[in-house]
């Protein structure tokens, strides 16, 4: 998603992993970890402001 934001023209892109995110069901969480699934917070700006 970082790359898509950049390609769409966003600037000052920042991302961080959401620390407490996990799935409630253990089987789902295990699958998520196997696929490298994580929750992230992203901020970015559209250029052109003052």
């Amino acid at each position: 998603m970082f790359g898509l934001l950049e390609e769409s023209g966003f600037q000052r892109i920042r991302s961080a992993v959401v620390p407490n995110f996990r799935f409630r069901k253990i089987a789902t969480q295990n699958s998520a970890e196997a696929y490298g699934v994580k929750a992230v917070m992203m901020t970015a700006e559209k250029p052109g402001g003052d």
Binding site: M1, F21, R24, V37, K38, M41, M42, K46, P47, G49
Partner: protein
Amino acid sequence: MTGSIEAQAGLEGEFKDEIIRMYQNVADNPEGEFHFFHGRQAADMFAYDAHSLDEAPQGAVASFAVVGNPHLRSNVQPGDTVLDLGSSAGLDAIIASRSTGPTGKVIGVDLNPSMYLKAQAHAAASGSGMECHEGRMESIPLTDESVDVVISNGVINLSFQKRKVIEEMFRVLRPGGRISITDIVSAK
């Protein structure tokens, strides 16, 4: 080629129906068990302000299904126009409206027609002047450069057209506008 485009459109349609069904189920049966945390438990997990949660319509809190807290870095200011993309039952929009104040505005857009009506009812109950629209995040029903901040919480990953969603966020933002989103990504 045409066949594969049709196949993807068919799959996208089925997926859309499944998304509507799943989140409708959360809203209609908030006491139910799902593969994700929801309700007050999820909000507490992601450090939502307890006072805001206590004051919000409890129907909006109970059906809250999210992956993080976009308010932590949204820096919404009084007078801002905020778009909540995938507003569901309206809790994130109601919380954002506390920061915009009466001179600002929060607009919720959701795919599910009954969900945006629910958000509208919750917003009215909370005294928030939230404006709700039924719409798709790949075609946001707002004019160009009409929004100061876009928040979104766990919905962009559900789109088959993520590039289009991001281009749409860029389109509706004013120059200098910003996004604060939380979502699921996969490293593989």
